[in-house]
Symmetry: D2
């Protein structure tokens, strides 16, 4: 059964949910799922509604037009799209393939609904496992000299492919701050620690030195400040004294795969609403 | 800031959330939190709304009267009460005091808002830790001969104390089926396994024999059929080969305390909606 | 640094660990890791030792000969092999590919050290993702008429390939009891529930009907009795009322992949010792 | 059945486990449980042995004398004591009682075997729940003027009571560095974040601002550097956007209670071995 997803965030006021629910009801829409959250500190309203498409009187285009005046009155940030549309997601990788392999499987099996216009990497290592899926692989090497041009090339590629989301699936390069700034909420990163612990490089090494009893991974949107963007999802696993640094890397891989796959799932199904440096995630 | 809690479940139809949200808006009520779930298989709608009391135009009594016609039209099961009201909860215990001690602490510290008109036990063991809190302790011993009278005495006590909820906090006696039937959704039990594993007696012993790698506890409403009632909350903990049966008992105690405390919390804050043998729990 | 793995289980007695540790020391062996567990109820001793190979005075063959008299005196069940040897593991699948894809990735990336002489399936569905890895794929369809012959063919194949372990990676057929009996501790299955809950078919459907708040998966050795074999590893994930049966299937897939991957890892590194229907698992 | 606990750490060498196991066997001791870990990076050996007391030929005093020459030869740090001895543990609290109440229950019920010579606090708040257990309560207020004297008074009290361990059960004062230095591995603290995240004050507030999806608690030994001591145990719980800072405080309390109770348990049963800033914890 097809669904239409309405995502709204705006300043809070009395009667807000009634206004939006009335709008949907007037269009004949039956609500399959409604999430609402009001942040009392910020006075901000967040909502996601899943509407049964076949009950609606008009198509998505017309529905958007109809919602526009209300959204404008409410000063709302909003989106409205069929759940079945497949966003275009560019994957960025380096040499480590565990997150890539996991996402490719979820994509191929249909567990996650998105299109992969291409995979970009600064190394050739993962070309075979990408191309055998029929996905274009772009090798864009990076050196201190070519850095600016390389990122310009990438950004041009993203644009030309109508990319909705870029996923840094253990892409070991730091994106230029201005690139992050131009794609707010559209670059997803997986960091290999439970942030804010071990911001920066070599988190597993530092976790091992510190003797923590838990390690983890954090899926977040990349912003101009490294590892400081809005957190979408985190995952941890227990470790013990006998786990070497290599063991942490191994155990961490499963955390990374899980946190990234869940974060991507929430993003694709319009379950993530960002405000300031925090996310509202209506998990499923 | 005071809140008023509205809980509604009814057959699903188009425009349902709008109808209810409109009702609240008409009364001036600002919604702090809205949960909604529609069970597609059952065609059933569940909702919980937390309304800022000071924004409402009338008191709870008048609000109930105003909601009655709509509720009746929708064939709704519903409740409406101030979040600050303190339900009366009778605790039933036997000799094991870990769940009791945990609930007493959460009660005393104000973490959970409820009143304890009395604690009932078939043993004298726990009298001291109850009475030192200023709570009446009733010893109602049970033998095969006195069983019926004992339960009649208890039920009379529950009624006389305006009991809203009875919590079996490791009360080792099985309630008569007809007693459960007379208090549907109002007798909460903590079972010491992750149901439906190890229904019945000695779950830890059987878990040890089976060599499971996880043990747990289940908080559920008691029904006529033993350990088959609607599940509210579950908790598990990892165990290993070196854990003896005594270790399972020890580790299980913490699962029991956590699952029961959370289940009780959800019940007290009107977050549990029961339909058939399943619960909708809007967790916090 | 290469290691040699010694696994011993035998009746308990005073001085047992000293005897075995002395043996290793006499051979010059430095112990990297020692696990020992004595089951007091059974009076049984379990141990696993990881020895630095380069410190040993002789090769594995000679070491086995040297250990034989002591093992015989202790009535021990034991094994001794280089950690670097790669056991031959046949994977059995049906139409669901998530566990297969996961194991193939861990195999390809070298996270798990084993050889896959072939994959066997009763359907053709997964042939492409197997053959592109350069692994032979055998299609052995099963019907009520051909069942006996089919399993005879499989068993012949296992033998001809020097198979050490058979992994049922969501192979939806029930192995004949006599086949299980001929390969004790050598057929590993992943069951899609946290056993002993939901033994048998359609566990997710039944979990959904029962309204549990946790679902899971169990990795165990297959025995003549369905879903009753020794449990190696279990994994659970929290579910809520809004999760449909399809959601449980989705969430369960990750539990299955994790529990199976860990169970296989423990088996491959000689960390699982079976006695009766229970396992001692020296986890890493 | 009574046990004797032997804890040893020393530089690694070939035959070490055999030497120690032989010593135990020569004394007639049957090993119930042996844990061994060799840190390859540090070249250090850690071991804990649980010996059946009734099988030993001599008492603990004589056993210590007998072990002394071997320990000396091995340059070992070691301890040897009956499992049944009850260490004296002073609890330090402020106004928050959840950890105290939890420890008092585990002490009273016998789950944890230790004696509480007194509870010390800088506030009077928790006096009633301490004194009703028959435990002396010392009020030692702290101001910037009296700080040095207050800590001198406390330290004198610890000494006069033969204190083995001091537990800071949400004691909100920072111990002077020199006090920590005089009681290495003997002051246990519970920090209300999953360290190294949110070192210092108000971790829940900062966790809420950062929008993390997990909060936690860390049990560690206090050292001269605040929140930097060796970590013994950590616990986390998932949080979501709808959890207010007050909710984090509430959910965190259960993490704190669990992490502290487990850390204390491991310490009391000689399961924690410290070297440098890391712990080896042989968990049970």
């Amino acid at each position: 059964m097809h669904s239409t997803l309405l995502k709204v965030s705006c300043p809070d006021r009395v009667g807000l949910l009634a206004r939006i629910a009335n709008f949907v009801a007037e269009q004949g829409g039956n609500l399959k799922e409604v999430h609402q959250f009001t942040d009392p500190a910020e006075g901000w309203f967040f909502s996601r509604m899943e509407i049964e498409t076949h009950t609606l009187r008009c198509d998505v285009k017309a529905l958007r037009d109809a919602f526009e005046p209300l959204a404008s009155e409410l000063n709302a940030e909003w989106s409205l799209r069929p759940a079945e549309s497949r966003p275009k997601v560019v994957l960025m990788v380096s040499k480590l393939g565990h997150c890539l392999a996991d996402l490719l499987w979820r994509w191929r099996s249909g567990e996650l609904a998105f299109d992969i216009p291409c995979v970009i990497s600064n190394h050739e290592t993962l070309r075979p496992i990408v191309e055998r899926e029929g996905i274009p692989f772009h090798w864009i090497p990076i050196s201190s000299q070519t850095r600016n041009e390389a990122f310009a090339e990438m950004e041009a590629l993203w644009k030309s492919l109508d990319t909705e989301l870029i996923v840094l699936a253990r892409y070991m390069q730091i994106l230029p701050a201005e690139v992050c700034a131009r794609w707010p909420g559209r670059v997803m990163n997986i960091h290999h620690s439970f942030l804010p612990s071990f911001v920066g490089a070599n988190p597993y090494q530092r976790a091992h030195q510190r003797g923590v009893k838990l390690i983890g991974a954090t899926c977040h949107y990349a912003t101009a400040e490294l590892d400081e963007g809005p957190i979408i999802e985190q995952e941890v696993v227990r470790v013990e004294h006998f786990h070497s640094e290599a063991d942490l890397l191994r155990l961490g891989r499963d955390c990374e795969r899980m946190a990234l796959a869940r974060g991507l799932r929430y993003h694709l199904s319009e379950r993530v609403l960002v405000r300031g440096n925090k996310t509202t995630v209506f998990r499923d």
